[in-house]
């Protein structure tokens, strides 16, 4: 084994990751080579000095501040999705969405809504439930049709 390989083992021996055989070779070389022995000693001093380096302190509530910043940036990211889309396309998509929402409202819900408006308009009690168009028509004929201005007759 040449000197460079043995020197490598020596300089890595401080980490405790060598195999038993490699560690034995490194130990043997340290006894034979004054330069490598001195460098290993110096490396150990360096590692000791490094441990004395100051470490920055984490300020209180750091994690909470990060989470708040993340939530804010997540909202920004949501809106930036729309920035790249051309405006006409965006309007078209919005119109289609509104139409789809309208179309997906159940027919019965719309009928109920119409009945409520109808009842409010006449302020009269509906004598029976209007379950069909025929019944609604009969009710209108009986109570006179509303005027075109929408005022009560």
């Amino acid at each position: 084994m040449n000197h460079k390989t043995l020197r490598k083992l020596v300089l890595l021996s401080a980490d405790g990751t060598l195999s038993e055989q490699e560690q034995a070779l490194a130990q043997k070389h340290i006894k034979e080579c004054a330069r490598c022995a001195a460098d290993l000693q110096r490396l150990s001093k360096i590692q000791q000095t490094v441990k004395e380096f100051p470490a920055p302190k984490v300020r209180p509530f750091f994690a909470q501040r990060v989470m708040a910043e993340y939530r804010a940036s997540a909202k920004e990211r949501f809106w930036t999705v729309f920035e790249g889309i051309p405006r006409p396309l965006l309007f078209a998509a919005l119109s289609v969405s509104i139409m789809l929402i309208f179309l997906t409202i159940p027919q019965s819900a719309r009928e109920t809504e119409s009945l409520n408006l109808f009842t409010q308009f006449y302020s009269t009690e509906v004598p029976y439930s209007l379950e069909s168009d025929e019944q609604a028509l009969a009710f209108l004929i009986k109570n006179e049709l509303p005027s075109t201005t929408g005022e009560r007759q």
Binding site: T49, V66, M67
Partner: protein
Amino acid sequence: MEEVAFNQDHQELILAGKQGDESALTQLIELYAPFVHRLIFSIVRDDSVVEDLAQDAFIKMLTAIENYEFRAPFKSWLTRIAVNVCRDHLRKKKVRSIINFFKVNEETNEEQSFMDEAPNPVMLLEKDERKKILLRAMERLPASSRMILVLRELNQLSYEEIAAALGWKMGTVKSRLFRARQELLQELAPYREDLL
């Protein structure tokens, strides 16, 4: 083995965090904040930007945690994010990394006073001076050597964690660490042995 166990200890938190559990994410940040602060400080050596960069690193972590798949230890994955944040910062600021904290007085050539012929041996033995010498020596190393020394010596990352963080093979980590240590010893050669 110890490092793997460390990673597994937080597996439940990581899994909950992946599902968007804010309490788990907050706990993860609290657990790794000291490590990330130290790592960033050891790379940029500027304490005025450490918190901002740590915050950037954690926000990147929160954004990407959904895609983290346990292929590498969480600590390595986070290290890679933090290192990239530091690289971006240094690239933007166009500063050299490691010595800003202990600025050398170029005009008086202060560095000369730490050499063998320095007149005041008492001062030479002070701890702060030893740290300055070491940081100056590290500053003169090539970027890849400096990075591996920062991760191994200053932040105590294992070979496996370094390999995963920098995307290197284990053999590459060993070779580069050996080379970096050799280069550091060469840089320190002009200084007295009893000093460092």
